[in-house]
Amino acid sequence: MTLAFLLPLAHALVSRRDLPIPAWLFAWGASIVLIVSFFALSVAWRSPRFERDRWRPLGAALSRALLGYPVQVLCGAIGVFLLGFSIYAGLHGTEAPDRNFALTFLFVTCWLGFPLFSVVLGDVFRPFNPWRAIGRTVGGAFAAIAGQRFAHLPYPRRLGRWPAAIGLLAFVWLEVVYGVSGGVSVGVTPNTAATAALLYTVYTLAMMALFGVEEWCGTGEVFSVYFGMLSQLGVFSVEDGRFGRRMPLAASTHWATVPGSLAVVIASIASTSFDGAQEGAFKGAISRTFDWFSEAGLSLTASLRLTDTIFLLLCFGGVALIYLIGVRGMASVSGGPPLSKLRTGFAHTLIPIAFAYLVAHYFSLFVFQEQAQFTYLLSDPLGTATTDIFGTAGAGIDYKVLSANAIWYVQVAALVIGHVAGLTLAHDRATAYWGDYRQAARSQYWMLAVMVSFTCFGLYLLSVGNA
């Protein structure tokens, strides 16, 4: 039995795949990355700029308007409604993945849309987070009735963001590994997605009751942590109840101090790599491993799930290994902090890489599938062909809005810009850790090698073809 073809979620939704980037563009992309990198080394600044950047509040009226109680209630209600509606559509709508509101809304509009808006506008998921809204409402009601606040357990500090890192991998596993039928990957069904969302809701509300709403959102709630991480790259943020701004990238310098943060960013890069590589770079290896398992007597479904799980974990291990080798190398440059401090101290430099991978792999899917989201999925959310709420149920996706060339340039530009941002953060951190600027520059040969590896691997994945 050979693997006929793989059909991950992106496939089940959009009936078009990106063309692999051509060899000449790959060569140009890689060359620009190298030239930019060596140029960066020669012009580097000598004392930290991003670390010392201070947050500046914007007008008080703007803060009142954006963060006031009415807006909080409204956003929370919208979040709860959309989660509830998605679960309803998933359970009661069609099982055709591309025709059910739930799949596109959860896996494209939210999962890919919030990262984009988080980077541009700040942490926009926080006000819309349905679990936070429910948790705060229940907590508030308890306090009003009982006359005292609910007593939470202290959250174990050592656990940090590890629950979010594991949750992130579990979410991606559900998205790209779990949905298997007869030895063929078919992507998750609307029903499974809705059931998973219900289970996650129960789990999240239980954790919030145990440890407190804000505590769990900062450490364990997968989506708060993940979208929050990406919002660190942008300029806007809320501090002490006020809306303000910073230099781009500056907020991220303080993000990784919580244990487990490194695992979150590595999980993000690894899952995008796996999704991009399973049809291209890893296709042969996955197919051989699958054959091996199925010949050893496992069922086709079990073989494929096991194979994909192994490759997803290998991606996680591979990304972690490259980063840890770089950190180990930096530790060999004298005058710096100990290894353990270096390991967490440079974790945030991978956030731009994670975002660049996301844009490069899912940009076209997002543009195409959002056309469906705002036309037929809005008018006929259950996909039963019985409703036409906005008169757009008969619309289709116009694949001509993006040419192949436009997609290629966005993909390569995302990787190159992510690379430059990562190097910038790494250099800035090095000038803070090594008092002597020459030693700081030396330590950065290692991070340069790490970043070049990730960026060239990203380009390579695109050149082999992605889903």
């Binding site: 073809f5 078009r16 795949r17 890689a30 289709g396 001509k400 090698a449």
Partner: protein, 122 residues
């Protein structure tokens, strides 16, 4: 910059250029070969004989293929959203301009069996 690190830097550049060259040379030449004439995809027992067919065109060219099937089903050319019924023992012809760039599948819709991968280059 001391000489040890200069050597490391030069080593990195050489390595990277070597990787780039390797990829360019190993994948070169495949992009400009396009499919000519009419390809026939034969379906036996609901599966394409010889595996999934691959057709490659440049944008603006005419896509032409024929499906000979021993089962009754509907052939769905995804992306272009062209659907044609085929009867058992019958055949159906496709002839349309390659206007959308990307990689697309054609399936036997009822069986969810992919029979063709169509690549349209810019």
């Amino acid at each position: 910059m001391n000489s040890k690190y200069t050597r490391v830097a030069v080593g990195l550049v050489v390595l990277a250029i070597a990787v780039v060259l390797l990829v360019v040379l190993s994948s070169g030449g495949s992009s400009d070969s396009t499919t000519k004439g009419i390809t026939t995809i034969t379906i036996k027992n609901g599966k394409p004989v010889g595996g999934i067919a691959h057709l490659t065109y440049n944008e603006g060219e005419q896509v032409r293929f024929k499906v000979d099937s021993d089962v009754s089903d509907e052939v769905h050319m995804h992306g272009y959203d062209i659907m044609k019924d085929v009867k058992a023992g019958g055949s159906v012809s496709f002839d349309f301009p390659a206007t959308i760039e990307g990689v697309f599948e054609a399936e036997l819709e009822g069986r969810k069996e992919q029979i063709l991968e169509l690549t349209v280059n810019p």
